[in-house]
Symmetry: C2
Subunit: 425 residues, 2 copies
């Protein structure tokens, strides 16, 4: 491994966890045999065996016992030189480095092919979102019509704060820096370079086209003011930094810039540090991949995916890890727990709710709200809609049986579970 | 290929298109050597060479010149027997068949491993959404915490119609049948079997756990009434048919049932025939894959992805198709066309708008709306917010230059492009 920063540490941790706690016999072993750092004395969040850490690139790049290099240093130089040396030495390379893949990717990809080794870089775009594999494998039979993405978490966090709270650009940036969403020097994010590197990488895979930095229109978010959000909202829009590659007459147009996005399209709802890539293919139609686009663990997830793909090939099995055992214990529905929506046709007279509440209460289920809805005066009945607090399925089913037999209940028309969602972004 | 219905025809078409129109030299050739049908005389939407079509399974399954079988017949029998025979004969298999993969998947996966051949079935879940590859490759280092999905297009279409237009279940079903979204016998969709097959397949890959049909709670949508949507809406919810696999104390709980979904979570906005799978992994966090979950072409997209993956391996290169040429012509930003948002600090007096409109008009740009926003009485200026109709970038930039020099314009504060979205669902 080259680099042991936040991403590198998360990858090292995932490798170690895997070797102690491998759930399936058929998964290939991974062994961390060398880590290049600048300073061996620095305190790390992950424990790496002492003999493994080194400041000498040759000790890793020329080590015959190492067959896969993971590059998580970032930047064009010296990453380009290290990756090239590794590929020439017949080592497979996994990298999270968008800048080097954008600027020098054509060369590196050719070099990997010449040396018959793999160069995988899923982590370079969209963190743990599997967009590169999707473009290069799953959608291979499609003619890609367009890619449209929110692909830089820092700017999306800042723009979301500005949109929601009317924060100024400067305050939103300071907050992002305090939370670790923005770097001390935020130029690459704010001025759209990061998004540009990523759309260039996506373009190479989606359109089999080289997209050099200076062929892509780029505009950052520094000129967006709090009042632009207020005015845009008035017109039915919000503002997002988009990275777009679209087929047009005669070719392909590539652009990174802030854009007004209609409030009623899904992209307007991709907030905070989330990323999304929308691909339109002629067969698949519109495909939407969304997730955490940055951060140590999502990026480590993608690095590990690439690593295990190569490891599997080295072990002679390109096939996915096979199913080998019954696995987890399957729980009965009785153990499910949620809120419930009950629709009851009840006799329309006083005391009905007390009887229903008492049946529910005896089963340990408390009521969250009751609505009396449509009434049928002829039959003397009314729809009662009851929302319960969270309850266990087994209790709800026994209460439901008793409700059905209650004299004041003409029918328990429906019992629908309420799905619980935790807050995202 | 076994079967030549709507999916089979779309796959045959994609194979043929590929061989005439292959964009990159390094992509492996595919050759359609046999198609099993029930009736050779039937009229087809795709032209297949006469000698290729047959009603005799042995002519395909025992043909030494065929190395990959694509099964697109559906159903458990005789698909199970055919796939087994193919695997035993050392042929790789690609299938879109969720029922056989749910019910007999454990056996088939073992059989493929024993015979050292591939069994791929990306198309069996979520049409062209690459969810199986994501679970079995990209997220391999993650501990999966939950899967939550809208995974049956027919019921989602029906529920969306009921939610939006207050349509009755029966009418929405008839409509879905008329549009080809629901089959003549809609039992498998309406009663949740289709979603159950799919969550079972996902569970095997995500949790390395076998999930037999009778271990999964299943409830369909027949009991959902138009008034349930009305009442749910009153409470802040809509209703979706969900398929869920969630870790809980002591194991895994699997369930397919209609559920109240809060209107403010993204899943409430997945409408029409769209599918979505939300995966929560310990490293990647929440990951969201959305697209067309059914239909001939999205399904063919997934079948072709699997086919090409195998074909690549057979040709000795597991690597993604390499970049080999400059590709498409890259267009300059000048050729971009969109609506524009202009924020102008203008002198607050009569005739200003006429001057601005005339500059825009001379560049061929017409105004869609103008808002006069904040005014600064001290400086005698006001914010004008102008939305234009669609215009070319080159025209807008030249107009912007002229606006900046206009005496009534104190500043052209911002010029932001408006992104165009076509209607989905």
């Amino acid at each position: 491994m080259l680099g042991l920063g936040v991403v590198g540490s998360a990858v090292a941790q995932a490798i170690q966890r895997r070797s102690c706690d491998s759930p399936h016999g058929s998964s290939p072993p991974l062994d961390l045999r060398g880590v290049l750092v600048r300073d061996t004395s620095r305190q790390r969040s992950v424990e790496v065996p002492a003999g493994v850490i080194s400041t000498d690139p040759a000790s890793i790049l020329e080590n015959d016992r190492i067959s896969i290099i993971v590059e998580v240093m970032g930047g064009e130089t010296p990453a380009f030189e290290y990756i090239s040396a590794a590929l020439r030495a017949g080592k497979h390379v996994v990298t999270a480095n968008k800048e080097v893949l954008c600027k020098r990717g054509d060369e590196l990809i050719s070099l990997a092919a010449e040396n018959n080794v793999r160069l995988y870089y899923e982590a370079s775009v969209g963190g743990g979102i599997p967009i590169l594999g999707t473009l290069s494998d799953d959608l291979l039979a499609n003619k890609i019509l367009s890619l449209r993405a929110i692909i830089n978490g820092t700017t999306n966090y800042i723009l979301t704060r500005m949109a929601r709270e009317g924060t100024s650009f400067e305050d939103a940036l300071s907050e992002a820096q305090a939370l670790g969403y923005a770097e001390a020097d935020p130029t690459s994010d704010l001025d759209g370079f990061d998004a540009l590197y990523k759309i260039s990488i996506l373009t190479r895979l989606a359109f089999h086209s080289s997209a050099p930095v200076d062929a892509i229109y780029r505009e950052g978010i520094r000129n967006i003011h709090a009042k632009d959000f207020r005015y845009a909202q008035e017109l039915g829009y919000t503002i997002k930094l988009l990275a777009v590659a679209q087929r047009a007459d005669g070719g392909l147009l590539l652009r990174v810039h802030p854009a007004l996005v209609p409030l009623d399209v899904p992209m307007a709802g991709v907030n905070g540090a989330l990323n999304v890539v929308e691909v339109e293919g002629d067969l698949v139609g519109p495909l939407w991949l969304q997730g955490r686009g940055a951060g140590a663990e999502p990026t480590a997830s993608a690095v590990m995916g690439d690593l295990l793909r190569i490891a599997r090939e080295l072990h002679g099995s390109g096939a996915p890890v096979r199913y080998d055992g019954p696995g987890l214990h399957l729980l009965p529905m009785d153990e499910h727990e949620c809120m419930y929506y009950l629709r009851v046709t009840a006799v329309d007279r006083a005391g009905v709710l007390a009887k229903i509440a008492s049946v529910l209460g005896e089963a340990g289920i408390s009521i969250r709200s009751v609505l009396q809805m449509d009434t049928d005066d002829e039959r003397g009945v009314a729809d009662l809609v009851i929302m319960t607090h969270s309850a266990r399925e087994v209790n709800m089913q026994s209460a439901a049986d008793r409700l059905r037999n209650l004299d004041v209940v003409a029918a328990l028309d429906n019992l629908v579970r309420v799905e619980t969602y935790s807050d995202v972004d």
